[in-house]
């Protein structure tokens, strides 16, 4: 490698790490704000006495039940992710390897693609009317169903991609051995697509955990999820900046855990999902 190329390489790294600092800066700033008193935030004091009051308040005070909100978020995202994974994986095997009628896969996948890209809010109103009419408004069921239909298209595309990577010959060999499709799925496809399921599951969970548009309108006081609770901190009489920051930090934890322990699954899912 010539000296000039080396220099260019260093410049590239410098640029990327500079941008990394621009990403981290705001994160560190909000982290520090979560440990500041409201008065220090409003005064713009950079070095202020550290206090746990914000965390204490959002968890223990009578007006705020942030732990409960986190619990709601957890229930909705875990259940909807599991459902999406099961539905998407069995459908992916059939769509990718068992040649269903062309028009079935064309309509199913075509609509899934369009639906995935349409603004969520264009559907929330209709969901609201539908769920209210059957008495499901404000229930976990309504929130979970809305998350399942939102997460399904992406998971479907990802899982089809992953199943396609399993050699056709393996499936054919298993069929010649007298295996039924359910057996092929259980003993061959399922074990071989666990990695793909982890990637699809990570992405589905992240988007369900982050959802705001649906929960804002379909949840009630008891099923309110963390993002909706964060937004309410901004709508009090006086904006509770410290509590908003503390709540934001807490609701970032699952994302941080994914980055630390499952980075390759997240990256794999993101890249595969975007190119589709």
């Amino acid at each position: 490698m010539s000296a000039r190329q080396k220099l260019g390489g260093m410049g590239g790294n410098l640029l990327a790490w500079g941008y990394a600092l621009i990403i981290l800066g705001p994160m560190v700033w909000i982290l520090s704000n979560s440990f500041k008193r409201q008065i220090d935030i409003l005064m713009g004091t950079t070095i202020a006495p550290i206090t746990l009051a914000n965390y204490h308040q959002i968890i223990n005070s009578r007006q705020s039940h942030f732990l409960w909100n986190l619990w709601n978020s957890a229930i909705v995202s875990v259940v909807s992710t599991l459902l999406v994974l099961i539905i998407a994986t069995v459908a992916a095997f059939t769509l990718a390897r068992l040649q269903p009628p062309r028009w079935v896969s064309f309509i199913l996948l075509g609509w899934a693609l369009v639906f995935h890209m349409l603004p969520t809010l264009t559907f929330v109103g209709s969901w609201y009317v539908m769920f209210t009419e059957v008495g499901l408004h404000g229930t976990y069921t309504a929130l979970i169903l809305a998350q399942v239909v939102q997460g399904l298209p992406m998971a479907l595309f990802l899982m089809i991609g992953f199943v396609m990577n399993i050699p056709k010959e393996l499936v054919q060999a298993a069929r010649l051995d007298g295996c039924t499709y359910p057996q092929v799925f259980r003993h061959l496809i399922l074990p071989l697509s666990l990695g793909g399921m982890a990637a699809a599951g990570a992405l589905t969970f992240i988007s369900a955990w982050s959802d705001f548009a649906v929960a804002l309108n379909l949840s009630n006081k008891d099923t309110m999820t963390a993002p909706v609770a964060i937004a309410t901190f901004a709508q009090e009489h006086q904006i509770l900046y410290g509590q908003m920051a503390a709540a934001s930090m807490l609701s970032m934890l699952p994302a941080l855990a994914f980055i630390m322990f499952g980075q390759r699954f997240v990256v794999r899912g993101l890249l595969a999902g975007a190119v589709k």
């Binding site: 190329q5 069995v90 199913l108 969520t120 109103g125 009317v129 007298g178 359910p182």
Partner: protein
């Protein structure tokens, strides 16, 4: 292995059940919660809906909602304009910054690449509402970090989110911050999957890095670039969460986006019919864009295959 006739029949039956049973849940979910709502919206858009003790009372008014939407809802159309400006500006900047960074990093040493990826993933995976909260603190007029930094270097204090001249720009900046890492990771993966032999073979023909970029890298990357561009552009019409916390659509209609109008009309003003009409018009518009983008990508692919 030979199967006996009885077994063959059993296998056939199990297979048939699998074919139906494996697709049914996906089809039912999508049909009930994504296709049916479109028809439901079409039905509601022709009506005036009142809520009487939890049940919807529907009075038909024909096309009145649409007529009103096209003549008397300037806020929605301000939203359409803002969303378009937002999408075009934000995505263009993200593409330029992200691709440039990917080009610069491609040949750099891979030292610390894992950590770098981790940091770049952060904005993508944390809830958008948190990003809104974060930037609301940073861009605050009196105590925000950005104005503090401005005061250090003697720049004037700006009311980033409260001044109609700057609000949309601020929202665009936040979105660029949010999604540039995504474009970076995507285009970097694309660059790294390019065949190195092409570059080696072309070494004799290209005079400098610029020519290499212009005649080799960019043409080879075109599919990735186009798909990322279309993908980001269409998805940015989904924007809602960050703006909800940053500006709430204001001041005035400075950062009003389509999703805000729909949300307000549906839920704050309880005008279900008008909300449905807005949703339908939006669905038609975005679906049109998706079909258009799809056709362009397909045509390019076909041209390439013929060439």
């Amino acid at each position: 292995m030979a199967t006996r006739p009885l077994d063959a029949a059993r296998i056939e039956r199990a297979n048939l059940w699998w074919r139906i049973g494996s697709l049914a849940p996906a089809i039912i979910i999508l049909a009930a919660l994504s296709i049916w709502p479109v028809f439901n919206l079409a039905y509601l858009s022709l009506a005036d809906v009142d809520w009487v003790s939890g049940a919807a009372v529907v009075n038909f008014v024909g096309l009145q909602n649409f007529q009103e939407l096209f003549t008397g809802e300037p806020v929605y159309w301000a939203g359409v304009r803002n969303t378009t400006v937002f999408a075009v500006c934000a995505v263009t900047l993200q593409m330029i910054f992200g691709f440039t960074m990917a080009l610069a990093v491609r040949r750099a040493s891979k030292l610390g690449r894992g950590l770098l990826t981790a940091i770049f993933l952060l904005p993508i995976v944390i809830p958008p509402i948190v990003i809104g909260a974060m930037w609301r603190l940073l861009l605050g007029r009196d105590f925000g970090m950005v104005n503090f930094l401005f005061s250090l270097v003697g720049l004037p204090q700006v009311d980033w989110l409260g001044d109609p001249r700057f609000a949309l720009m601020s929202v665009i900046i936040v979105d660029v911050w949010h999604w540039t890492p995504f474009v970076f990771l995507l285009t970097l993966a694309g660059l790294e999957s390019l065949d190195q032999e092409v570059f080696d073979a072309a070494k004799l023909d290209v005079k400098n890095r610029w020519q290499e970029l212009r005649y080799i890298t960019i043409p080879l990357m075109m599919p990735t670039i186009l798909i990322t561009l279309a993908f980001r552009m269409i998805l940015s019409f989904k924007v809602f969460d960050e703006i909800y916390l940053l500006t709430g659509g204001g001041p005035g209609t400075a950062t009003e986006v389509i999703n805000f109008s729909i949300n307000r009309v549906f839920f704050a003003q309880d005008r279900v019919g008008m909300g449905s009409a807005m949703s339908l018009v939006t669905i038609a518009g975005v679906a049109g864009m998706i079909v258009f983008a799809n056709t362009v990508v397909r045509r390019r692919r076909k041209l390439r295959a013929e060439a």
